[in-house]
């Protein structure tokens, strides 16, 4: 360094020399290190570079388990043997493929095509068969010494123990898609990583995923590991404890199994704890086996699933909304009472039809119900009663009331793609169609026909509010999240969304009407009866096409897609409801015959679990 030409103080000058000395020292160390690496160890390191013998093997983290509320496993991770090939170590490809084909009983060309399709770096193992059965594995292991470049490795693999049970709720996993990799939330994913694609697998991705570990190893020319340099253990994904009750879920799934010689019913079921909003069962049919998505679903099955007319991938319980039919009467009934349009003593005369303006609206019972009050009208599902007073109340008041039940907006259970449903108002119609609301439309809306659309989950939430004193609960799917070794990470509490306006007396009146539906002679829901348990419920049959299209046809003659939808909303025990079941059968024809028995199956198992046989509770009230 030169001496100070300028004005820096001598003291600064000294410090500058010191700084220079420090910089020089650091660079001298670098020089020595370079000499050591490049000159002293140069030959050895060059040899290593030519062998390219160091690899990073990924240790995939096992995905976290999904358990039901009693700790029973719904989805787990099991070890699966993978057959891999290291392209750079493959010295006789033809022979290797031929032998491998023999060992795992597949076409050699199919196997080699998987390698060609993989791309990537030549020294990384490529998976050829991702879930070897034990026999194939033993054969490969016996011959592996003669197959350079062929390695086997155990990998964790997702396994859904119950097959298609609760498939839509649990969801599917699959390789992360290129479009996802571009998104921020997938910032730390690499191509080929597995990610939850639908349902809870997607919702809980960050919790279930865990973090991968890996191993830096030295391999020989045949791709075999000869030395482990260092290793980072994978951290398994966390556990999720669901609110689901496997027993009720099984019962619900079984109830959707077709009777001998019949088409499998399509539809959905949602069972909730009325007070906590816990989702005890959630079914969507038709379903699929999520195990088929693990390791990548084959193109043919995928095509079949996506092109199926009845859309098996859709979660009908939350993603599809339908006209609620007469299940809506429970809501309208409460609205009529609350608004003072009717009292419990108010009656209407049902001759089997209702005239409004120049149109005539039929009651489902052609011969008419005669004189009915609200109790009878609910029990026998009399349309004319609701036509009469619904028109008096007006569509906007009905809608306001329906909305307070959480209808017309997603229930908020956080699963992706939840349909909002629809609660029509005159404003809505003006916006949507640019037309005024016609009073005649209120007639249909009073019995849940017309524009109204609800999901099965929404029906369950609204009925739960009828049964729990007016609380609109957010359906809760998760009880808690735990780490893989059982440490509690997060507890989810029940969430109250809002309260409906409804006096305890009026709620009780509606509930008693609903109880009559099931428990009294002449009610439409008799097929939901469970010995020893008093059930309240409401049937619903939602027209799919104009009556004239199917006029005069017997049920079996109607083409499936023209058949009516069947609903049943049930609460039990009727005296103080604890569970709500909403059952929906798409094109199931009648709520009373198609949907009520399905709800019943769940209620029966629930009752049994509560310790009731034909218990005394029922005996008290004949």
């Amino acid at each position: 360094m030169q001496s100070s030409l300028g004005g820096s103080e001598p003291r600064l000058e000294g410090r500058l020399r010191l700084a220079g000395g420090f910089v020089l020292l650091v660079f001298a160390i670098f020089g020595l290190r370079l000499f050591q690496l490049q000159v002293v160890e140069g030959d050895e390191l060059r040899r290593r570079s030519e062998e390219n013998s160091i690899r990073t093997l990924r240790l995939q983290a096992p995905r976290g388990e999904i358990l039901d509320r009693e700790g029973r496993v719904l989805a787990t991770t099991r070890p699966a043997w993978e057959l891999q090939v290291v392209p750079s170590a493959l010295d006789q490809p033809e022979r290797t493929w031929a032998v491998l084909g023999e060992l795992v009983a597949e076409e050699p060309t199919v196997l080699s095509a998987r390698l060609d399709g993989a791309g990537g770096v030549r020294h990384r193992p490529v998976s050829i068969v991702d879930d070897l059965d034990f026999d194939s594995l033993s054969r490969v292991e016996t011959h592996r010494h003669a197959l350079p470049g062929v390695v086997t490795d155990v990998q964790p693999r997702r396994h859904y123990l119950e097959g298609s049970l609760a498939a839509h709720l649990l969801g599917t996993i699959g390789e992360v898609r290129p479009a996802q990799l571009a998104q921020e939330r997938f910032g730390d994913y690499a191509p080929g990583d597995v990610v939850g694609q639908t349902g809870l697998e997607s919702l809980l991705e960050s919790h279930l995923r865990g973090s991968d570990g890996g191993r830096n190893v030295v391999v020989d020319v045949a791709g075999r590991v000869v030395e482990v340099l260092d290793e980072v253990q994978p951290v398994p994904g966390g556990r999720a404890v669901l609110t689901l009750d496997l027993d009720l879920q099984r019962a619900a799934e079984a109830a959707f199994e077709p009777a001998e010689g019949q088409d499998p019913p399509m539809g959905a079921l949602v069972a909730l704890d009325v007070h906590s909003g816990d989702v005890l069962a959630l079914v969507s049919r038709p379903a699929y086996d999520p195990n088929r998505f693990v390791g990548g679903i084959d193109a043919e099955s995928w095509k079949a699933l996506t092109e199926d007319e009845w859309k098996p991938l859709q979660n009908r319980a939350i993603q599809t909304h339908y006209p609620p039919g007469s299940t809506h009467k429970a809501i309208v009934g409460l609205a009529l009472l609350e608004a003072g349009t009717v009292t419990p003593e108010t009656t209407a005369y049902c001759p089997g039809f209702f005239r409004h303006g120049r149109r005539t609206y039929r009651c489902w019972k052609r011969s008419g119900h005669g004189t009915v009050d609200l109790h009878d009208a609910l029990k026998e599902s009399c349309d004319v009663y609701f036509y009469t007073y619904g028109v008096q109340l007006g569509i906007d008041r009905i809608a306001e009331f329906a909305r307070s039940f959480g209808l017309g907006r997603p229930t908020g259970m956080a699963l992706p793609g939840e349909a909002p449903g629809l609660v029509p108002t005159s404003d809505w119609k003006a916006r949507r169609f640019g037309e005024p609301w016609y009073p005649g439309e209120t007639v249909s809306a009073s019995i849940g026909q017309g524009y109204n659309l609800y999901t099965t989950a929404q029906l369950a939430v609204s009925y739960a509010a009828l049964g729990n004193g007016g609380k609109v609960m957010k359906p809760r799917l998760l009880i808690r999240l735990e780490s893989h070794d059982g440490e509690l990470l997060e507890q989810r509490s029940p969430e109250l969304l809002s309260r409906i306006q409804g006096s305890p007396e009026n709620l009780q009146r509606v509930l008693s009407g609903l109880t009559a539906v099931v428990e009294e002679q002449g009610g439409t829901g008799g097929r939901a009866r469970v010995p020893g348990l008093r059930v309240a419920g409401k049937t619903g049959t939602a027209q799919v096409v104009r009556l004239t299209t199917v006029e005069g046809l017997e049920d079996e003659e109607i083409p499936i897609r023209f058949r009516d939808h069947a609903w049943f909303g049930a609460l039990a025990p009727a005296e103080a409801p604890r569970i709500v079941v909403a059952a929906f059968v798409e094109h199931g024809l009648h709520g009373s015959s198609a949907a009520a028995p399905i709800a019943r199956a769940v209620l029966a198992v629930w009752h049994e679990k509560q310790g009731g046989g034909t218990g005394q509770v029922a005996g008290a009230k004949p």
Binding site: N52, E184, N216
Partner: protein
């Protein structure tokens, strides 16, 4: 406003410019090799982007050169506050990438304001110490104002969850410390105690996962396994270059992409593989000469502000370079710090070029008074 008299130009610092040009040229040549694996025909996109950054940086360099640095003494606070505002804007505007939110993104352009904040900090600190007179600082507590000046940007950078850059910024600020009059003994005592305590806590006071979390916090993109892999491959790449190297574009480690970040943090390994011991020595030699020459500039400056500014600028180049090379040579853990003027990355190239411009600015006005 812009004062360039003839004398300034007569004193143009060709030495500094030549050394910087050699380093830059080697950097670009290596980047081309590192970013074009195999036999790519088109210019690699990283290379093109870096050329654009060089163009922008060149203009900034020229501006930093012509505006008399002594004006910066007056503008210091304004520059400092502006750079802080720019830095703070990331907290509101920047998306989270690779675990931190330190980049401002506009379309395909992204920019890391922390680099500019370092410049603002250096100017502000130089001004502060020059105004107090560094020799007035006799006690540790005299450093409190300087500590506050440093703390502001560092805290924002920590809030961005970019502790690596925060540590780097602290080191740059610490470059000024030896120029205070606080006795060396006090410093040595203090740092010895600090280092010993830190090491003891690290070794005995923390569990594995806690250590791992701290390292993750320092460098969010860190993945212990890939760090280990990179460290091994980096040593192999450098060592396999031997004395003469494998030749330009011939590095097998490089061309087979064994190093995931070979064009950014590990670019020096590519130099080592392709150009060998000779190439590395040349590059590091030029770097060393550049840094020492910067200290000469500091020494030659007529005013204390110029001296301290030059010191800070040298610190800005020295610390990341030292950490980066130490990491690539396997002497330090793998943390994502780029090699200034060489690694891929527009923001720090721009900041480095401005630093060089200011350094030359100080240098060519050494006689002007």
């Amino acid at each position: 406003m812009i004062s360039i008299d003839r004398r300034s130009f007569q004193n143009f610092d060709w030495m500094l410019l030549s050394l910087a040009s050699i380093v830059l040229a080697m950097g670009f040549a290596t980047l081309y090799s590192a970013a074009s694996p195999g036999a790519a025909t088109a210019l690699p996109s990283e290379f093109k982007r870096q050329l654009v950054a060089l163009g922008v940086g060149g203009v900034a360099f020229a501006v930093a050169l012509v505006v008399d640095y002594r004006r910066l003494e007056r503008w210091g606070p304004a520059v400092y506050v502006l750079s802080l505002l720019l830095l703070a804007s990331t907290l509101a505007l920047a998306p989270i990438t690779r675990g931190n939110r330190s980049w401002l993104v506009y379309g395909s352009l992204s920019f890391q304001p922390a680099e500019i904040a370092k410049l603002g900090l250096v100017i502000m600190l130089a001004r502060h110490f020059a105004s107090r007179g560094p020799l007035e600082l006799r006690r540790i507590r005299d450093l409190i104002p300087a500590g506050l000046i440093t703390a502001l940007p560092v805290v924002i950078i920590i809030l961005q969850r970019d502790l690596g850059v925060a540590v780097l910024t602290l080191l740059v600020a610490a470059s000024f410390l030896p120029f205070a009059r606080i006795p060396l003994r006090a410093w040595m005592g203090l740092s010895l105690v600090g280092v010993a305590a830190g090491a003891a806590v690290w070794r005995f006071g923390l569990r594995d996962y806690q250590r791992s979390r701290i390292l993750d916090f320092i460098d969010p993109s860190r993945d212990p396994l890939s760090s280990g892999y990179q460290a091994i491959q980096s040593k192999i790449a450098i060592g396999s270059g031997g004395i003469f190297g494998k030749g330009y574009l011939e590095g097998t480690q490089t061309q087979l992409q064994f190093l995931p970040t070979q064009h950014s943090d590990f670019i020096f390994a590519v130099v080592g593989e392709e150009w060998g011991f000779l190439g590395c020595t040349l590059l590091l030699g030029c770097y060393l000469a550049l840094l020492l020459w910067g200290l000469v500039v500091a020494s030659n400056s007529k005013d204390t502000f110029g001296t301290l500014l030059a010191v800070g600028l040298v610190g800005m180049l020295f610390w990341p370079a030292a950490i980066n090379v130490a990491m690539v040579l396997g002497l330090a853990p793998v943390i994502g710090v780029p090699l200034p003027l060489v690694s891929y990355g527009g923001s720090h190239l721009l900041a480095s070029l401005i630093a060089l411009g200011l350094l030359m600015n100080v240098s060519m006005r050494r006689y002007v008074f």
